[in-house]
Symmetry: C2
Subunit: 469 residues, 2 copies
């Protein structure tokens, strides 16, 4: 089933559901049995997600949240009622008005990110709203202040507690919607353009996923840098919308290096790649001397709606390892950038705070502009995810918690004509993918089988462990 | 034989020699036979080195030059009389007063650089002097102007023709000796510190070969950047001299990562490595998130006085290849920088010109300071090379063409005591190296044999080719 079809089905099915009380109440005790000192905090969080502490539960009001009930397709994503979360030390409780949808959310849903929380848990990395409460030890914020947060999962709910180090005050005069649209995209884009690639006037960059929110932010920053040639790669359907933001456009799926060589035979100074897979090797090959290839994502892992062992494995084995000695000979650099990991697991909070100060300055100057593709009701989250999956969004996808779960002018309902067109394109895409798969199948069959076997072993292990309990 | 002993012997043997007329005269014709269209220019240059065009030769005056007669030890380096070179289009003829000695010169002598000229040829990459003549199509310079040049080999002679794009005007008031000392070292250091590593206040860098000319230039630029912690690695004998230029010192040969972890458990922001080999893997391991490892040389290739298949092979197979996906996960970067290749073979001339404008500005501000270890007469070049080989220089080694080939106050003669000390240290070093070799031998024997076989094949090929002529 394609994501669109699934989204339509899910969408009708996701009228807010009451989470079964029994399950919600049981969850924490199950978690408690497994507790092992070091994981206490995590378990606590998971226990809360499972239904909150028993004693507090009855007293608490409920809220809506987007919960992932198991890794997989859109069907695993449900809007459910949850007890309102408790506030821990160092945290800010945010009454959420807007949420950002990112490609990472699709990866989390499929279970292809590193060490995701155990299901069920609240999805999402970005939310914006108003401070509802503050832990006693937090001094930076006031109740009622407008903030944006980049959370480590669990951001798509009406009330979200986030450690204050990941919460950012929205500048006066900046509409909350703009803050929600620019904060994460421009933080990533700023680090890419000004810190890693260090793009200078006169340079040429190759930008994959040019039509996404980060891609469009990169374009804006390059335009501001002045005299930067941007070669954007994007799905054909986005070309009309993004043509003015780039210097040249290449269609996604084409032979990118050949197309780049036609445009600039001497190669490019920078490649910004969030795809991974074969693009890594191709990207390196078209770098000029002194060029920098920056890998900041691996969206190639996501192919179908659910996790594909084939595509996950392929995204790894396709990428050539490179000797530092070759980089020395070629005068080239390879740079890795994993924003979420940096911010949440490698102590990047101060760094990101500094970056956001610059980003908000650029907003004041009119450089950083929100580029919102569309806004969805919380209940329509699967529709937003499907749109991103199919690479149909130009700029940011937002969830607006004040919106009702029905088609609105800002979230135009699909006409039958559009639907048909999409279905055709999907059919084409699917056909293409199948052809590709067939070609690769033979050589990759062995590796895939190995992966499957490993996964099967894992499953058996898990099943055994569950039985033992 | 150690380099020092060899240097002493060579030194006495290198009283200017007259190059055998027969050989000099024959060389061009031999070269002519082999000419194949595309290589015309190179062959012409080689022919000139072989003795110059026959018809011009008698009319020309002679000059001194440091000529490499075959790849190998110090014995292959001779001071010979050569016909003065002709000036080609786009070139500037420089009457040389000073030459810079670089580690690359040792590598060229051993024949471990990529595509060196055919022997015999004039050694050296750096010279400074006064413009003697200018080709008709060169507009940037005037006869009599003081210049520095970074040549593609062939810089160690009394008269050196260099394409004008590799020649730099010495700023007024800058003594020629200072220009000779800072130009190349600071160009490399500037690109390392300000462009590749992009060192910022508050950061920590690990700097290999901290006592060399480039290393000392890096220290000066970091000091100027302010609040940069420099952990320098250098031979023990240099520690007293360079202690004030770095924050911490580690002895060369120690377990660098462990020592670094003792000083800063969280790792470093930047590693600047001109050694290669195992240091590559070690360097990567001690990087903080967002850290950059910059490989800008592979001096580990040079062990003994002559080329060692073992060390060349080892410098390659020791280096782990890295997947860009790992860099993405780790939030790290690996950057390669090969200055000479960039400047001479990858069109980096405008880039380097811009860099040198900044360097000369920094000289005016008192930031870029010449750090001259010692100055040698042209005839004492092997002594300079030996000093560099044994890592005894702190800062720049220069050849001064006006100096006479005998011990001078600026080139203090070695006392017997010093000599003894050095011999002891060398013996220790040799012992250490032998032990290391023994340990590695078994696992590496196979690879070495393969390399040797390849080399033997190459030799056989060359011998056959020679026979066929």
């Amino acid at each position: 089933m394609t994501d669109t079809a699934e989204a339509a089905k899910s969408s009708t099915a996701t009228a807010v559901e009451e989470e079964p009380k029994a399950k919600a109440a049981e969850a924490p005790s199950t978690e408690d049995k497994k507790d092992t000192g070091a994981e206490d905090k995590k378990k606590k969080e998971e226990a809360e997600e499972g239904g909150g502490k028993k004693e507090e539960e009855s007293a608490k009001e409920e809220m809506r949240a987007v919960v992932l009930h198991g890794f997989g397709g859109l069907k695993s994503v449900k809007i459910v009622k949850r007890p309102q979360p408790a506030l821990a030390d160092g945290e800010v409780l945010i009454r959420v008005q807007l949420c950002g949808v990112n490609f990472q959310d699709l990866m989390v849903r499929q279970g292809v990110t590193e060490a995701p929380p155990k299901t069920p848990f609240v999805l999402g990395f970005e939310c914006a709203g108003v401070v509802e409460a503050i832990a006693d030890d937090v001094e930076d914020f006031k109740v009622g202040s407008r903030v944006v947060a980049i959370a480590d999962h669990r951001a798509w709910a009406e009330l979200v507690p986030v450690p204050s180090k990941f919460v950012y005050a929205v500048p006066d005069n900046m509409p909350l919607q703009e803050a929600a649209a620019i904060t994460l995209s421009y933080a990533v884009a700023y680090i890419l353009v000004h810190e890693l690639a260090a793009i200078a006037p006169g340079q040429t960059i190759l930008l994959h996923s040019a039509g996404g929110a980060v891609g469009q932010a990169v374009c804006a920053l390059c335009r501001h840098a002045g005299n930067v040639t941007v070669i954007g790669v994007a799905s054909k359907c986005k070309h009309d919308d993004i043509r003015s933001s780039v210097t040249h456009l290449i269609e996604r799926g084409q032979d990118v290096p050949s197309e780049v060589r036609k445009l600039c035979p001497e190669g490019v100074d920078v490649v910004l790649d969030c795809q991974g897979g074969e693009e890594c090797n191709r990207g390196y090959s078209i770098l000029k001397p002194f060029g920098r290839y920056v890998l900041f994502g691996s969206s190639n892992i996501v192919t179908g709606e659910t996790k594909s062992f084939f595509s996950v494995a392929k995204s790894w084995w396709q990428v050539d390892k490179v000797s530092p000695l070759r980089l020395h000979d070629d005068n080239k650099s390879i740079m890795g950038f994993n924003f979420r990991r940096f911010l949440h697991h490698q102590g990047g909070e101060e760094h990101v705070k500094r970056v956001l100060e610059s980003v908000y300055e650029l907003w004041k100057e009119g450089v950083a502009k929100p580029n919102i593709d569309s806004t969805f009701a919380l209940e329509d989250v699967t529709e937003a995810m499907a749109k991103m999956h199919e690479r149909r969004n130009v700029g940011k996808l937002l969830l607006d918690l004040s919106m009702e779960a029905k088609p609105k002018p800002t979230t135009p309902a699909k006409t039958k004509k559009e639907d048909k067109k999409e279905t055709k394109e999907e059919a084409k895409d699917e056909k293409k993918e199948n052809e590709k798969k067939d070609n690769d199948k033979k050589e990759n069959e062995k590796k895939e089988n190995e992966k499957k076997e490993e996964a099967a072993k894992e499953d058996t292990k898990e099943a055994k462990a569950a039985e033992e309990k």
